[in-house]
Amino acid sequence: MSPPLLQVNDLKKHFPIKTGLFSRKSEFVYAVDGVSFEIARGETLSLVGESGCGKSTVGRAILRLFDITSGQVILDGQRIDDAHPSTMRQMRRRVQVVFQDPFSSLNPRMRVRDILAEPIRNFGLAKSKEDLEVRVTELMDTVRLPREALNRRPHEFSGGQRQRIGIARALAAEPELIVCDEAVSALDVSVKAQVVNLLQDLQQKFGLALLFISHDLAIVEHMTHRVAVMYLGKIVEIAPRREIFAAPRHPYTKALLSAVPLPEPGAQRNPIILGGDVPSPINPPKGCRFHTRCPFVFDRCRTEEPTLRAVGAEQWAACHLDEVPQA
C-alpha cells in the first residue's frame, strides 16, 4: 500500500487573543485541538461542521497560511509544517486552494491571462513564452470558459465564472491536492451544479485529491469519498460516505444529518433538534465537547473526553456511548 498523499497528525492551532488594557496574551481560541486524518491520492475527504468548528483553520494550516501550534502535516512523506521556506516553495505547488468568495479572491486589476500565468511562471512550469500561452488557453478549455475571456478582468464575470477562474488558477500549478474551502457555497443552485460537476470531472481527469470543506451536507454526500465531522476543534466522527450517511454513530453527526431540510414536501422526518448554541472555543466544555447539547449525555461525558475509536471497518467515532453494550 502506498503512503497517503497527505497525513495530518494531532494538529493543533490555538490563536492568542488580546485581553485587557496591556494586551497580555492570556487566553486562546482553541480553533483546532488535536486533529488527525489522511488523504489518499485521488481521494476526496470532506470536512463538515458548523461555523467555528475549525474546519477552515485545518485547511489553512495545511496550506501553511500560518504556523501551527503543534502536530505534523506530512505531504508525500515530507513534513511541511516546519519546512524551510525554500523547500516549502516547491511543496506549495503541490497543494493549491479554491476559496469561497470568488469576488475577493481574484485580483481585480489583473487580467485573467495574468492571473493564470502567475503560478505557471512562479513555479517555472513553462519552457517558453509559447508554452505559457498554450498552457493558459488549455486551462480555459479545461474549466469550460471561452478563450476570448483571457483578456478580461474579474469584474466582467459572473460568480460562477469567477469560481471557474479560481479553479483554473489552482490547476495552473499542477497540484496533487486542492483545498476547496466552501468553494461552491456562495453560488446559486444551478451554477453550483455546474461547478460541482466540473470539480468531479477534474478529479477524474487529473487524479486530484480534494479536501472539500463545506457545511452543505447534500453537496458533500454527492461528491465525497470520506467524511470527517468536526465539532469545536475536534473530529467527532470520520468514515466513508456510505457509513456516515447510512449509519452515523456519533450523536452530533446524527443531529446534523437530521437537521437538513429535505426538498420533499410532507417527507416524514424526525429532526433531532439540538438545544442551545455551539459553546465558545475559548473555553470549550470539559469532558466531551458536545456534552452541553447532546441528547444522550451521561456523567462520564462531563468529565472524561472520549477518543476516536473504531466502530466499524473504516468508521471511527469519539463517543462514550460506543462502549456501552448495545441493548
Binding site: 458548523e50 461555523s51 459572473s158 460568480g159 460562477g160 465564472q161 446559486d188 443552485v189 444551478s190 451554477v191 453550483k192 451544479a193 455546474q194 460541482v196 460537476n197 468531479q200 457545511h215 451536507l217 447534500a218 453537496i219 454526500e221 454527492h222 460516505r241 456510505r242 450517511f245 447510512a246 443531529a255 446534523l256 444529518l257 437530521s258 437537521a259 437538513v260 431540510p261 429535505l262 426538498p263 420533499e264 414536501p265 410532507g266 417527507a267 429532526p271 433538534i273 439540538l274 448554541d277 455551539v278
Partner: protein, 329 residues
C-alpha cells in the same frame, strides 16, 4: 379570502447602463394565514418584490408600478405617514442578516418596545412586560436578563429569534421573511424553522417566505411561486410543484439540487446543470425570459413571451411547451 393581492407589479431601477427591470409584471395573492414561498436565484427579483410590498425601495432610482392591495387598501396609493402605520404593525419583515438589521447600540428590549410604543400606544412598563413575553414566546432562555442585552451579546440564532420577536410584537397579519435562515448553521436553522412553524399555528399570520433553499420551502410553505429574471414563471401548491414541475426552469432547479441519501439510493450521479446564465435585465427581453438557457426553446419562444396558463389544479406556468394536465416525468 385574499389578504394581499398584487397586480402587475413592476419595480424598475434607473441605472447608468439602462433601466433595470428587476420585477417585471408580477401578480400573486396571499390568503389569510397562508404561507407562500417565493423561490428563485440571485437577481430573479424575489427580494425586490418583498421590498416593494413594504415600499422600502428607494425612489428614485427605483419606481414601483402596478397595484398592491392589502386588506382592501392599495399600498402604492398611501401617503408615507399611512404607510408607516402599516409597516411593523400590519406587515412586518424578517431579514437574512440579524446582525445588520438590529441596531447595535440599543438593547434588544428597547428595540421590541419601540414598535409596541409607536404602534400600540403602550407605555414603557407595559411595553417592557410585553417584550419579555415576546422573548419567551420565541424561546429565548432568561428573557428578563436578555431584554437588557445588546445584539452583540447574542449568538446568530438568538439574534434571529429577537428579529422574529420584533416582527411579531404587534401581531402582524402578514410576515415577510427574506431568507430568514440562510445565514444560520443547520442545527440552528432547524431550531428557527421549528419556531416559525409553531408560531404560524399560534399567531396565525400569513407568511411570505423568500428563499433559494428548496429544502426550507418543502418544510414550511403551502404554495410556491417560482421567479426567474423578474417574472413569475410558475406557481403551484407545494406538493404539486415538487411532484410535477411544469416549467423547464423549475425542473432544472429541482434537478440541480443534490439530495441527502443520494449515495444510498444509488442516485448520486451527475447533477443536472442549467447551462448559461441569467439574462441581463437592463436590456429588454423579447420572448420567453428563459429561452436562452432552455433545452426546449424554439423560435416561438424567442419571439413571443408565453403567458401564465393553467397546467393543472391551482397550477400555472408560463411556457409554450409545458404539457397541460400531463404529469411531467
Amino acid at each position: 379570502m385574499a389578504l394581499l393581492e398584487v397586480e402587475n407589479l413592476q419595480t424598475h431601477f434607473r441605472t447608468p447602463g439602462g433601466i433595470n427591470r428587476a420585477v417585471d409584471g408580477v401578480s400573486f395573492h396571499v390568503n389569510e394565514g397562508e404561507t407562500l414561498a417565493i423561490v428563485g436565484e440571485s437577481g430573479c427579483g424575489k427580494s425586490v418584490t418583498s421590498m416593494s410590498l413594504m415600499r422600502l425601495v428607494p425612489e428614485p432610482p427605483g419606481r414601483i408600478a402596478g397595484s398592491i392591495r392589502f386588506a382592501g387598501k392599495d399600498l402604492l396609493k398611501l401617503s408615507d405617514r399611512e404607510m408607516r402605520a402599516i409597516r411593523g404593525n400590519d406587515i412586518s419583515m424578517i431579514f437574512q442578516e440579524p446582525m445588520t438589521s438590529l441596531n447595535p447600540v440599543l438593547t434588544v428590549g428597547r428595540q421590541i418596545r419601540e414598535t409596541l410604543m409607536i404602534h400600540q400606544g403602550l407605555d414603557k412598563q407595559a411595553a417592557e412586560a410585553h417584550a419579555v413575553e415576546m422573548l419567551t414566546l420565541v424561546g429565548i432562555p432568561e428573557p428578563k436578563r436578555r431584554v437588557r442585552e445588546y445584539p452583540h451579546q447574542l449568538s446568530g440564532g438568538m439574534r434571529q429569534r429577537v428579529m422574529i420577536a420584533v416582527a411579531l410584537a404587534c401581531n402582524p397579519k402578514l410576515l415577510i421573511a427574506d431568507e430568514p435562515t440562510t445565514a444560520l448553521d443547520v442545527t440552528i436553522q432547524a431550531q428557527i424553522l421549528k419556531l416559525m412553524l409553531d408560531l404560524k399555528h399560534r399567531v396565525g399570520a400569513a407568511i411570505i417566505l423568500i428563499t433559494h433553499d428548496l429544502g426550507v420551502v418543502a418544510e414550511i410553505a403551502e404554495r410556491v411561486m417560482v421567479m426567474y429574471a423578474g417574472r413569475k414563471v410558475e406557481e403551484a401548491p407545494v406538493a404539486e410543484l415538487f411532484r410535477s414541475p411544469r416549467h423547464p426552469y423549475t425542473q432544472g432547479l429541482l434537478g440541480a439540487v443534490p439530495r441527502l441519501g443520494s449515495s444510498l439510493a444509488g442516485t448520486a450521479t451527475r447533477l443536472a446543470e442549467i447551462p448559461g446564465q441569467v439574462p441581463d435585465l437592463r436590456k429588454p427581453i423579447t420572448g420567453c425570459v428563459f429561452a436562452g438557457r432552455c433545452a426546449l426553446a424554439t423560435d416561438l419562444c424567442r419571439q413571443y413571451a408565453p403567458g401564465l396558463e393553467e397546467k393543472g389544479p391551482r397550477h400555472i406556468a408560463a411556457c409554450h411547451y409545458a404539457a397541460k394536465g400531463a404529469v411531467a416525468a
